[in-house]
Symmetry: C2
């Protein structure tokens, strides 16, 4: 049975762990908020289930708990941030804040980040812009699990793109998506339950499409959004590549197959061309284009019109990007966050390292 924890309980535990790693009070709070944003929004694969992974990276000295995060190059609307091997959960909010300040000053801000680590869910960082009446964008590269069209080699991470757009009376539009057909987290659920994956999610060691959910661990690969050439996998491959280039080639981080792996036990790729992994954050002030009130009125109409689209028989309604996560958030803030037994055990073990009780 899943055990259920309140948001506040998990937040406080996570914060204690980051403090025990040596993070400052402010960084521990920032990182916990970013990490828990995944659990609260129903993206279980990217939340506290990964806390032990971050701890192991810190133990392997690949995460610096007291980084000197700084701007190393900038213009009025752009910057490159060096994350100093800090938690991506801290580095990305820093970089997003830089983007927001630049957008305040000159209309938009675009920040590419080098020397960082995994940053949790992209949507959290993009959503930081909303309270400023700005559109927010966030991308990150990640270690290679995805085979480009025609490739029998993993070359890209699941490289997500998030875009958050404020509305007026309606909730914001929040798209947050891996550039693969299916997120790795969904595959992990099937592996755990020994179920087959739908055709088009993964390829096997020979590069053939397969329903074997375990193929990814046996020299297989995730497939780009589109699944195969006939269904546009070259587009998913191109999108993942754009994320990789904006996040890493633009910042001087590692790209393609050279991105550092998340599991601390996996050896680092040889001959890395850059530093750490990379992110790309952006903010555009709405009233740098038109009056924010007019925009929001149109955005409300956009959202309502799409919600009112005639559904296919058998389906209740057409959703707006962000709806499923908002539903999770409403339920979990009230009823708590259910954790798999294995995750609870894992967190208990993490707590033991630092003399903390879950």
């Amino acid at each position: 049975m899943d055990q259920v924890f309140s948001y506040q309980h998990l937040f406080s535990f996570t914060q204690q762990v980051f403090l025990a790693m040596g993070c400052s009070e402010a960084d521990a709070a920032t990182a916990s908020k970013a990490l828990l944003a995944a659990d609260i929004r129903g993206i279980d694969s990217h939340g506290v289930a990964r806390l032990s992974g971050y701890v192991r990276l810190w133990e392997a000295k690949r995460i610096n708990a007291t980084p000197n995060i700084r701007i190393i190059h900038e213009t009025p609307s752009t910057a490159v941030v060096d994350g100093d091997s800090g938690l991506g959960l801290v580095v990305a909010p820093f970089a997003m804040q830089v983007a927001i300040e630049k957008a305040k000053a000159v209309g938009s801000g675009w920040v590419s980040v080098q020397n960082s680590n995994h940053f949790g869910i992209a949507g959290y960082h993009a959503m930081m812009a909303l309270q400023h009446d700005m559109i927010g964008m966030a991308m990150t590269n990640a270690s290679a699990l995805v085979a480009p069209t025609f490739s029998n080699e993993r070359m890209l991470g699941t490289n997500p793109i998030a875009v958050a757009v404020p509305a007026g009376n309606e909730p914001p539009f929040v798209a947050d998506m891996a550039t693969t057909t299916a997120a790795n987290g969904k595959l992990e659920i099937l592996q755990r339950k020994n179920l087959e994956a739908p055709m088009g999610w993964i390829q096997d060691a020979e590069g053939h499409s397969t329903t074997d959910a375990h193929a990814l661990k046996n020299k297989g690969a995730l497939l780009p959004l589109g699944s195969d050439k006939e269904h546009g996998s070259h587009k998913g491959y191109a999108l993942g590549s754009v994320v990789d280039i904006f996040s890493a080639v633009l910042s001087g981080a590692n790209y393609g197959p050279w991105v550092p792996p998340f599991p601390a036990y996996v050896p680092m790729p040889q001959n890395q061309p850059g530093k750490g992994l990379g992110h790309f954050l952006g903010a555009m002030r709405i009233d740098a284009f038109r009056k924010a009130e007019e925009f929001k009125k149109d955005m409300d109409q956009w959202i309502r019109r799409f919600r009112d689209a005639k559904p296919i028989e058998g389906y209740e309604k057409v959703l707006i990007p962000g709806d499923p996560e908002r539903e999770f958030e409403a339920i979990r803030m009230k009823e708590g966050i259910p954790l798999l037994h294995t995750v609870t055990e894992d967190l208990t073990e993490v707590g033991r390292k630092f003399n903390l009780n879950l």
Copy 2:
């Protein structure tokens, strides 16, 4: 049999047609270059095959041959351009030039466009940035042909995204993709040949996936990249939505089902919330992030590493976005552009209107 024309011949004919419509010398040249960029790059659906469509929109007074294209709002890094109902083929290059100038001044430039018309291929406009050592981006919305996930109503256009990234010794990275599983042009080819479409490209009048290529004309719809929910169609839907919002809600153009249709005989949607259709253009100066030479060296390495990825047995090699179009361009600049008999007839008919010989 296809008839083959030289690039120069078709360029000169197209230019004469735009001049006969009343365009200035400069605009006629700009529009012809943008339109022909499709034919030369092998995207036959978006090139001279559409010239008669532009002429009919002009005849219907929906295209203004002598527009007063102007910036109606701006900040150092952003602008909104009013296209004054001009040819998108002229309005988009104007807006992209604004983005480029802003990027020169403050690192990046982002321009949302209202009151425009179809702009040809997105890739052409994005590629304008390359010669300035900038990354270029271009998007446009278009009349609704695409059904969001669970929707039995067409709500979005094929809303393409293009991203062009300069390299050093290697050719540039140029992604140019409709946010649907298949571009409408590919479907038109199947319709013409009475062939079946692959499952996952379109849905029929009831919203069920179908292989009937004619279903689109019988109240069906194109499907977003991903084809169905299980394969990520909600991601293609989200991407198409972002294009719609950036192009039209941000500029004050028409969005969603209100975008003006390309065929002049199709009535305009009722209660339109904005003006014309919308585009979104962006430029980022490479050296606003890091030294252009360093970036290009890394971009060369990125491209070579991906090209060298181990191909799946039976496939020759892994391609870089832009490779297929470059191959077309090399061949067609030398051997000419083959046009279908129906297109040649259509162009001859257009010529007759203006006393021009194809």
